[in-house]
């Protein structure tokens, strides 16, 4: 056991994958000698050679398109997009080829590749460096979408993603890169790919969340517990495939649900989750499913991000509105009347 950061866990996962399978390649912008702007690929070129981990020219569509061709040619590319908003030039390649190749070849051309994207905010980043872009990918059939919330999951989910026969968009919550956990990766405790996990048990309400919002949910549950309220926290881990079973089982048990995401709320992943919960758990629900999300604004500047990011208070406020005393939630009525 050692104290490991999420950044180190990701680096170890890449190392172990490079060692385990010679088809694995790592490439992108500044991932070579520099080790990536977040140092996730630190030392890989030194230790595995320029052939296995290398810098490309600056062009995101080019990087992803190159990975498509190399995956067709028998490799397992793991590419890095430097930041969330800088992956947008690659979107055509991702939506039209990465996601569709297997389907449009009737299963003959599979693309086992991973697109790693440092994403979301909370690190005081300037514009274009803090986007929560998960909905774009999750909305695209043919992509698996992953976002780890713990150090251990960062390691195992990345290993799973690299071994997966399908393309995976691997979203790394930037603000958790320096989070720590005492762990080693000798034995796996993490659930299988595609399964959510109950991070904390509670019987009064379920908080469903993922990636950067998991620590927020856990903290909220801690505070609520002091007030005698038991909040269960479900960490989705993979947005696609989506684990309806674990989510529904929890909500049926607690009868109440708040979905938490850092991304802007409108048409987001949280909306999908709320709809699914409501479709599956209607008769178990004692209150409407509520969402706590970022506002529908472009990501704010560093000094104002605290106002935007869903924090513990906003989560607890939502929990309070879950009609524990049979008091109807009138917030939307009031807003509508204004």
């Amino acid at each position: 056991m050692a104290t490991v950061t999420m950044a180190q866990a990701l680096n170890t996962a890449l190392r172990d994958a490079l060692t385990a399978d010679e088809r694995v390649l790592v490439f992108g912008e500044d991932v070579g000698p520099l080790g990536g702007v977040f140092r996730i690929t630190d030392g890989l070129t030194r230790d595995f050679g320029e052939q296995r981990c290398f810098d490309t020219p600056l062009a995101e569509a080019g990087i992803v398109g190159l990975a498509v061709g190399m995956a067709m040619g028998g490799f397992r590319p793991v590419v890095e997009m430097q930041f969330d908003a800088f992956a947008y030039p690659a979107f055509e390649q991702i939506a039209s080829h990465v996601a569709k190749s297997r389907n449009r070849t009737r299963g003959r051309v599979s693309l086992p590749m991973v697109i790693r994207i440092p994403y979301a905010g909370g690190i005081g980043g300037v514009e274009h460096h803090c986007d929560s872009s998960e909905a774009y990918y999750a909305h695209t059939p043919g992509l698996k979408v992953v976002t780890p919330a713990t150090v251990e999951d960062a390691y195992w989910l990345l290993r799973d993603a690299i071994d997966d026969p399908d393309p995976v968009v691997f979203l790394e919550p930037k603000k958790l890169y320096w989070s720590k956990q005492d762990t080693d990766f000798a034995t796996r405790h993490a659930p299988p790919f595609g399964r959510a996990i109950v991070r904390r048990e509670g019987s009064d309400a379920t908080l469903v969340t993922y990636g950067p919002s998991v620590p927020v949910a856990l903290e909220a549950a801690e505070v609520a517990a002091r007030d005698g309220r038991g909040l269960e926290v479900v960490d989705l881990r993979t947005l696609v495939p989506f684990d309806d079973e674990t989510v529904a089982a929890s909500v049926r048990r607690t009868g109440r649900c708040v979905v938490i995401q850092e991304a802007q709320g409108f048409a987001g992943v949280g909306a999908e989750i709320a709809a699914r919960v409501q479709e599956r758990c209607f008769h178990s629900l004692a209150a409407p499913v509520l969402r706590v999300a970022g506002f529908d604004i472009p990501y704010p500047p560093p000094k104002l991000e605290h106002a935007h990011l869903p924090g513990v208070d906003r989560v607890l406020d939502a929990v309070d509105r879950l009609q524990f005393d049979d008091v109807p939630d009138v917030r939307h009525l009031i807003v509508g009347a204004a």
């Binding site: 020219p57 067709m72 040619g73 055509e92 389907n103 449009r104 070849t105 003959r108 051309v109």
Partner: protein
């Protein structure tokens, strides 16, 4: 940081610059011309084979266009007039090479040996490309412009890194060279020295938009120069020249000397697709003028004069072409709808629980309809 000397720059540019005029072996009237140094005429056997393939290709093309009128194809982009390019692209590649075609390149696929019905699978309105790309080393025909060019570089890199000798060839149109992916591909290939050939069929139009509104480059071949890609331009309606230049390009790539860009000056004789009305944007006189540059007529005259092609040969080729067309008609006339339940099967290697649910839902709908 030292800058490159003018002399070194000039020498380095020489490595990349295309010829001042398109490389040509045969004039429009079929008479031989003196090609620039460095290019060899293909041997007669190859030219004879190219002629045969062009006759078959053109017949395939007219048959496919006819099938759209009968509703057997959803859409067909004809390559009539571009047969020299289509056939040469297929003939210069070996079995272990890869081709990355566009929607316009069905004739090249047929020449590469893909079953004609499979070639038309997407165009008949199916959801998949029909053939097995891995088996025949032809990527699915690509519609999002220029995106396939980057894949070709990736495949070329894969082959190079595995120590294989294969070359990847990307086909692209004149309009496609305006897209960012084309430029990214050229740059990547040059930096990595990838064994890839970029083959631009400049047929003068991108749907309705003429070349002059597409690019102000001296010719599209010059787009390679800034990236350090060896570039050449060729008369795209001279099959002898296209074969010769593409052979040099493929050899260059295979020898590890990096990427090669070839621009073929040709012309799209038909409308963009059967659904397009070309009279809205170009004169009949212009099309008429290009009829004189027909690549089949040109090769026929040239080969007859060299006694490589006889009346009997031509008769045999035409008869083969009719058989191909008849076979295609017969097989395309078998109604084909596809199984809607299969739509769920190849989204992922294993369907997600949600896809399984949706598949069952659709299956239940069908069962209910049958009852």
């Amino acid at each position: 940081m030292s800058t490159i000397s003018a002399k070194a720059l000039r020498r380095s540019m020489q490595n990349f610059l295309p010829s001042l005029a398109p490389v040509r072996f045969v004039a429009e009237d079929g008479t031989p011309e003196k090609p620039p140094p460095g290019y060899r005429a293909p041997d007669d056997a190859l030219l004879r084979e190219a002629y045969r393939r062009m006759v078959l290709g053109r017949r395939f093309d007219t048959q496919a266009s006819a099938l759209t009128k009968q509703g057997r194809l959803a859409v067909y982009p004809s390559s009539r007039g571009q047969e020299a390019c289509q056939i040469a692209a297929a003939l210069v590649l070996r079995e272990d090479d890869w081709l990355f075609p566009t929607y316009r390149d069905s004739v090249a696929l047929v020449a590469r040996g893909v079953d004609p019905v499979e070639v038309l699978t997407l165009l008949r309105g199916d959801w998949h490309c029909g053939y097995d790309p891995m088996a025949i080393r032809v990527a699915p025909q690509c519609t999002p412009l220029a995106t396939q060019v980057v894949h070709a570089v990736g495949m070329a890199e894969a082959m190079r890194r595995k120590g294989e000798e294969g070359v990847a060839m990307a086909l692209i149109g004149d309009g496609g060279t305006s897209e960012g992916d084309f430029h990214e591909a050229l740059n990547f290939a040059a930096v990595f020295a990838s064994p890839v050939v970029f083959f631009v069929q400049n047929n003068k139009y991108a749907i309705s938009v003429p070349l002059a509104r597409q690019s102000a480059a001296p010719t599209l071949a010059y787009k390679g120069v800034g990236y350090g890609v060896r570039s050449e331009q060729v008369d795209g309606n001279d099959p002898v020249a296209v074969l010769s230049v593409l052979t040099v390009a493929v050899e260059h790539a295979r020898a590890g000397r990096g990427p090669f860009l070839v621009e073929a000056h040709t012309y799209r004789m038909d409308a963009h697709t059967n659904a397009d009305d070309a009279t809205r944007y170009r004169d009949a006189a212009e099309v008429e003028r290009w009829r004189a540059a027909d690549p089949l007529d040109r090769l026929e005259t040239y080969l007859r004069a060299r006694a490589v092609l006889t009346d009997d040969d031509i008769e045999a080729d035409r008869s083969d072409a009719e058989s191909l067309a008849a076979d295609l008609r017969a097989r395309m006339n078998i109604a084909h709808e596809g199984d809607p339940l299969e739509l769920f099967d190849h989204v992922f290697a294993e369907p997600t629980p949600q896809l399984r649910e949706q598949r069952a839902l659709l299956a239940a709908e069908f069962t209910a309809q049958e009852d």
